[in-house]
Structures are given as structure tokens and as C-alpha cells.
Symmetry: C2
Subunit: 319 residues, 2 copies
């Protein structure tokens, strides 16, 4: 069993590659829920839905999020009524959000609902929210503290970021099904997908029972870089790193995960960073990490799994 | 000022005729909310929305309810997710329901929300819910007590009706704006639209402060028949009358409103019922009441207003 940690679009690409090369019973994707929020009375889980739509083969190829061929008649009607339209909800996507909200209100857990909705959309692999508890990523900026979507979508990451908080994380715990997997002997490797380390992966690792179990893990832990040639493949990771006073580089990401991961997958363009990252005590694989086609996704998944297996062998032989 | 009482489709037709012939400040349409219910976590007000869409010129010409050119992508996606699809909500209609639910949860009254949404859709006349309190029409049938939409939409009025209850009506009161109109000297006539007397008009008249103010009224009260040649123009009125042990006729409707109304608008096809209804003490006008075109709506509105004015004159001269 491989466990992957992921946020939205970038993480979902590698997760779909992993889903292509691994059978359903050998992959569990743990998804960030720090971006979740309540909007228009609905409980929205952007990363969970991006993962679900991507693994179901329904994701919009153009946007990376949302559903391919989505219609926007609800949004247009809401605009006519003077409603809030800064967060775009497509007509089909709305069904996911209405149904999730209804089932949460009826007392079901987010993990149970996610498992069921995924199955109905034809997803064969396991998608698990990092926790069933409410955790909310708060972005502290020069314009005050903002909810994640307020910062990310409404303000388009424009305010200068000062700090990030994961409200509620200290009281959160992983869903039972995830704990079971993490404690099982079948757990072979952890893969941190090329998602934003601060906004997507950090909230997951902020869940105490999840972090401690992963730290105690004997299986190898591999991170795949979200930064290539100093730039984020998608999203605000590079901007955020600069605002936090760090250089926007794969080396800095490796430092961020230092002590936690055993191996680091670097983009071939950043080959010159191999030695400095190895100096941090991490094994390094340099390959193409920019996933444009589905063949790219599967290739990176295969290379990463192979690298994890080699890292495990090296570890068991005392390096 | 003319006050009209109405339910959904049939009532909305005459209300749109009245709106065509009366300026905005001279018409208030009071709408049944006994059909309202919570579904998918949303607060649905079918009759209010039918009225709003009809007066906005947005109503589906084919269905009578919902929005012309509506799309159903939400419903299809909800079906794929295993959600409840027996109550059809179009993508645009959903915006009305999401926005109303959000604003109710934020503490606004249904009447304030209705006034604002109507205005935004271009409705110039006043649409007022019968009350801001929750009143729920319960249909007691041979298969047990059913919520109105459960009976009407899900079961398509098939169970045999034994009784109708208006839960919460005793504790309800009319919205402040409506009370103001009913107590003003500008109030010239009450028109009961050709809506179902038991399912659409009775819930309105079950609101104590509304019924008492209307009973005390000096202005003439006119009912327009929803039954023509023994059949309901639309909906289950005739079936319900038979199940309640009454004949399905305009005469029976006049008896039902007996003592409350001063005048009765009968369809020209039922001319033979003029004398028996006059024997109940009601003035009678026999005209075409079946509204197929918008010209029919305006013609019936004009005839009814003229009839109300004559009834008022007769009353003031001691008949």
C-alpha cells in the first residue's frame, strides 16, 4: 500500500499517475481539507473535489479543477439575484457540494461521504480527507488574517503573506480508515505529491495523530518537488516562499521537508541541486517532473515508486 | 390598492393579468407558503417562486412553473451521486433557493428576501408571502400524513385525501408590510385568484391575523373560480373535492367561500350555476376564466376589477 499526500491540481496529477500504475487496493490518497470553507451555506472541499474529479477522469483539462464541459447557469442566475459570485461553482460541481452539505448535516463523516461520492463517480482508488475535524488554513497577510479561499480566490494571492496558521489542527485526528492503513504492515511508502508545501501539505502534517504516525514510519518517505527552475509549476508557492524570506527553489523545499523525508524527486532541469540536497541527508532522483500529458503522469509515478523501492532497499541494508 | 391571494400556476396567471392592468403601487399579491419545505438543505418556496418568475416574465411557458429555457445539469449530476431527484430543481432556479436559504440563515425575513429577489428579477409589483412564520400544509391520506410536496410531487396526488392541516398556522401572523396594507384606507378590493381553495388559499386564510383583518374588511371580496365545467383548470382540486365528499363544481367552491366573499367570478361555461350561487348571497359574474394567452389574463383581470368596483358600489348603496 502506497500513501500519497496531496492538495489540489498539482497533487492530483501525480495521484492520477499513481492510480494508473497501481491497483485500487495499493493506493490511498490523503487530501488537504485546510482549504475547505462554508460558502452560500454549502460546505466546499476544493482539494477533495479536484482529486475526486481527476481520478474519475472528469476534471476539466483546461482549468485543472472543476468538471470538463461544466455549465455555469447557476452562477449567472446568482449574479442576477445579487449573490456572491467570486467563488465559481459550476452546475454539476454544485451537486457535489449540495449533497456533501446535506449528508454532513445528517451526521455522516466527511471521509464516509468522500468514499461514497468517489465510488459513484467511478473512482476506484481510495481518497481520504486528512481529517474529519474542521481544520482551516488562515493566511496572515499585510492586510490582516484571511480565510484561505478569501486569500487564494477572491484576492488572487495578492496580499503579502506573513504567516500561515492551521486553525483547529491541534484538535484534529486522522479518520479511522487512514489510521488503520498507517498502522498496517502493508504500508510500503509515503509519497508527498508536488503540491504547495505550506498551503497543501503542511495542513495535512499539522494533524498531530497523522504526523506522529508518519514520523514513526519505517517505510520510505519521498517528496516530489513542486518547484522547477525556481518557479512553481502551478499556484503561488514561489511567491509565498519569497514572502516568507526564503529562496524559491527545490533546495528550499528539500530543506523544508528535511528530517522528515528520505528521498527527494528533483526536476531534471534542477540537476545542479542534487549535491546540496544530498548534503541534507536525502537520496535524490532527478527526472522530468512537469506533467503535461497523462503519459508524463504515469512516467513520474513509475519513477517515483521505483525510487521509493530503491530507497527502502538502501535503508534496510543500512545505506 | 388591490390585494390578491394566490397559490402557484393558476393564481400566478391571474396575478400577471392584474399586474398588466394595474400600476405597481396598486397591487399586492399575497402568496401561499404552506407548500414551502426543506429539501437538500435548501428552503424551497414553490408558489413564491412561480409568482416571482411569472410576474418577471421568466416563467416556463410549457410548465407554468420554473424558468423558461432552464437547464438541468445540477439534477443530472445529483442523480449520478445518488442524491434525491424527485423534486426537480433547475440550475437557475437553484440560485433562487440557495440565495434565499443563505439569507434566511443570516436572519433576514422571507418577506424582505422575496421583495429584494423580485426587484432584482424585474418584478415591479409587490409579492408578499402570507407570513414569515413556518406554516406547513400536511395532507392526511389513506397512506398516512404527508408533507405537501411529498403528496403533490413525489406521490403525484395519488393517495386518497382524508383531511388537510396547516401546521404552525395558529402561531403565524402576516408580515408587517401586509398588515399595513390591510389596515390602510387605500385598500379597495380583495381578489381570490383561481387557485386551489384547500391547498393554496386555505393556508393563507388560516393565518389568524390575516383572516381576521380580511373578515373585518369593508372593501369587496371577490373569488375567481378554479373549477370550470366540473374540472380543475390545473392541479388536483377536483379530485380533492370528491375525496372530501363534495361535488367538484364551481357551486361547491362558492359554498366553500360562502360568508367570506361578496362576489364570485364563474366561468361562462357554468352559466347555469349563476342562480344557485346568487342564492348563497354572492354577486356573480360569468365570463371566460380559462387563461390561455396573456390577452386572456388581462381580460379576466379587467373584468374582475370592474366586477369588484360594481360590487363595492352596490354595497355602499345598500345593494
Amino acid at each position: 500500500m502506497i500513501v500519497a499526500l496531496a492538495g489540489g491540481v498539482g497533487g492530483a496529477k501525480l495521484a492520477s499517475g499513481l492510480a494508473e500504475v497501481l491497483p485500487p487496493e495499493e493506493l490511498a490518497v490523503v487530501v488537504n481539507t485546510g482549504d475547505d470553507f462554508s460558502h452560500l451555506g454549502l460546505r466546499i472541499s476544493p482539494d477533495l473535489d479536484t482529486m475526486m474529479y481527476t481520478l474519475a477522469g472528469l476534471a476539466s483539462r483546461e482549468l485543472g479543477w472543476g468538471i470538463e464541459g461544466e455549465s455555469w447557469n447557476f452562477m449567472r442566475a446568482l449574479e442576477r439575484l445579487g449573490g456572491e459570485t467570486w467563488f465559481r461553482l459550476g452546475d454539476q460541481d454544485l451537486a457535489t457540494n449540495v449533497e456533501r452539505t446535506r449528508r454532513l448535516a445528517a451526521g455522516e463523516t466527511l471521509s464516509a461521504i468522500t468514499a461514497d461520492l468517489s465510488r459513484r463517480l467511478g473512482v476506484r482508488h481510495l481518497i481520504i480527507p486528512m481529517t474529519d475535524h474542521p481544520v482551516r488554513t488562515i493566511v496572515v497577510t499585510d492586510e490582516g488574517a484571511l480565510g484561505f479561499q478569501e486569500y487564494f480566490v477572491r484576492r488572487r494571492c495578492r496580499p503579502r503573506l506573513l504567516a500561515i496558521e492551521y486553525a483547529g489542527a491541534a484538535e484534529a485526528s486522522p479518520p479511522g480508515e487512514l489510521t488503520k492503513i498507517l498502522e498496517s504492515r502493508q504500508f510500503e511508502a509515503l509519497i508527498i505529491c508536488p503540491s504547495n508545501p505550506y498551503l497543501s501539505i503542511a495542513p495535512i502534517l499539522a494533524v498531530p495523530g497523522l504526523r506522529s504516525r508518519l514520523q514513526a514510519l519505517k517505510a520510505p518517505k519521498i517528496a516530489v518537488t513542486p518547484i522547477v527552475a525556481g518557479r512553481a509549476v502551478k499556484g503561488p508557492a514561489a511567491k509565498i516562499m519569497r514572502e516568507l524570506g526564503r529562496e524559491s527553489s527545490a533546495l528550499e523545499v528539500a530543506r523544508h521537508y528535511g528530517g522528515f523525508v528520505d528521498g527527494f524527486v528533483l526536476d531534471a532541469q534542477d540537476r545542479q541541486l542534487k549535491a546540496p540536497i544530498e548534503a541534507l541527508g536525502q537520496k535524490v532522483l532527478a527526472v522530468n517532473t512537469v506533467m503535461e500529458s497523462s503519459a508524463d503522469r504515469a512516467a513520474l509515478a513509475r519513477a517515483t515508486l521505483q525510487f521509493a523501492a530503491e530507497t527502502a532497499l538502501l535503508r534496510s541494508s543500512g545505506r
